[in-house]
Point group: C2
Chain length 364, copies 2
Amino acid sequence: MRIGVEDAVDFARGAAFLGTGGGGDPYIGRLLLQEALNKNGPANVVSVTELDDDALVVPIAGMGAPTVIIEKIIGFAEGERVLRAIEARMGRKATAIISAEIGGLNALYPTAMAANLGLPVVDGDGMGRAFPELQMVSFNIVGQRASPVAMCNEYGDIVMIDSEDNHRVETLARPVVVPMGGLCMMSLYAMTGAAAKTCVIRDTLSLALGIGRALGGARRAQQDPFEALFAYLRSTEYYRHCRLLFDGKIVDLRRETQRGWAIGHVVLEDIAGSGKRMEVTFRNEFLRARRGGRTVAIVPDLISILDRETAEPITTENLKYGQRVKVVGSSVPPIMRSERALEVWGPRPFGFDEPFIPIEAAGG
Amino acid sequence: MRIGVEDAVDFARGAAFLGTGGGGDPYIGRLLLQEALNKNGPANVVSVTELDDDALVVPIAGMGAPTVIIEKIIGFAEGERVLRAIEARMGRKATAIISAEIGGLNALYPTAMAANLGLPVVDGDGMGRAFPELQMVSFNIVGQRASPVAMCNEYGDIVMIDSEDNHRVETLARPVVVPMGGLCMMSLYAMTGAAAKTCVIRDTLSLALGIGRALGGARRAQQDPFEALFAYLRSTEYYRHCRLLFDGKIVDLRRETQRGWAIGHVVLEDIAGSGKRMEVTFRNEFLRARRGGRTVAIVPDLISILDRETAEPITTENLKYGQRVKVVGSSVPPIMRSERALEVWGPRPFGFDEPFIPIEAAGG
């Protein structure tokens, strides 16, 4: 598959949906992607099944608070430097790059980088969505090692981390993000093609493009974009249990940047005036949606907040008091709901004292 | 020169004096040193003038809050790992190791390591005392590059930093210390023998040993240790303008661990009951002593607080309410008071809005 400049808007919109509020600002990501695709032609997107077993697959991601990402523009040099640092450590060249998460900037930047460097980008990622911590990735769930980790900022500062423990990698890397300038590019979980086949959440670049096309197509045809979105999601193996969770306006918003994350919650009131409310808790990404004190969607299932007219996905940092929005919930594929997966990115790792309830069973 | 196990107690006591409250707990450092010297025989201490110009001199230091260092014992594996990490990056073996600062643990650990590894340790250091920040080192003052920087903790986690800017190295490394466990070993400013000859503060291991011997000798001979200390200091080129700044007891103490430093101040009241007070401000090290609101000693000159009977140097984290102490001030050599040096470790870099006043000119 190829992603060309004509796909950039749809791809960015789909990536914003999968970002569930996080993953980094898709607008900046789209500009970077358009620049790269204009200059170099389409990016070469390959299936994980096409990789040689001894290929070197290098994940690329930005790390930082979404509140910083909308103000600070990251360039291509940072991503290329982390790639080169990993190559130097592995003693070989990268065969392909891959998104660590298929959300926002982090879905788009690796594709832009792939076009720039003439490398293929894998159709897949490590989260099937976006998550706020480095160990919350399918590569970790199957036991891949996060180290060596490379981080780079716009000054060319490089920080490399080696640890046996993927959780400590998160603990060591997170405080570096602030002196790095609030946002940096990084690479971690470099792996062989054989390993990638065991843990990549597959075909999520195609999925992002499909979601974006459904939304964009409906808008262009002046059809209901939500209907088009649901119809498309139901046609995928991924997010087929999807539905409208709430239709309302934002009446309360608490958002703080803490230790490099955007942490808070947003409260919505029913647009129809029934007085019913929904509270959505977030840490970079939307994590839990409750209605009348009852959980109706929770991680790892997807909670997306979209403009109620245009179905444009809204990121955490772009939430505003008074906005009219619809909240959409979608199931995630079984690989993301396994017992081992829930230990890494289920409700409890996020500090919620409640079990995972699949969105299709949550009722409401 | 050789430092043998019979020198360990004196050497540690002298290093504690030069640590001016910081440099890491000398007790733990002394235990490590005794273990190493017992096992391997004396450490080989070489003058910087004996180094080949193309030698690779690797500084070693612990980084952390003194309040943590007294509770957490650091081992030899951490120091050896940072040395090996630097060697791997430089593509060659270290010729000699050197203390980054001649204070407390940081004076003793490299000597212990040298004995363990059969490497020489340079008679000198990068501070001529102890300072709380990584760029406050003579290596930086003459323009040596801090990077590559290696940091290692007891879990074997390694963090490496590369930056063009020595000040950013401090900013990037400092927040890593807390997730590293509050204390880690590190190496930075690896340099050639030729470079070392331009910037090492020379003969400070000998100096620490001389100070320790003066104090220990007087105690053993039941003479006044302060007189012996002053007599010895006056015989050196280094700290010859030395004098008693205050004789009192601790009546107030404020000490907080902030961002990996022990920050605060201690207030002393005249032991003779005149009601006169001295306030000593510290960040790991004692930075400024004021009497009656007037500065009588300030960085980079040495301010040491010693037990008023035994003249045992007291570190920041061992200050206690009610302690009877003497405050001793000493001048530092001209190389440490140059205009360029004061820009790095004079009053203003520490946030004091006052010029440097040499202790011999400060009066009082």
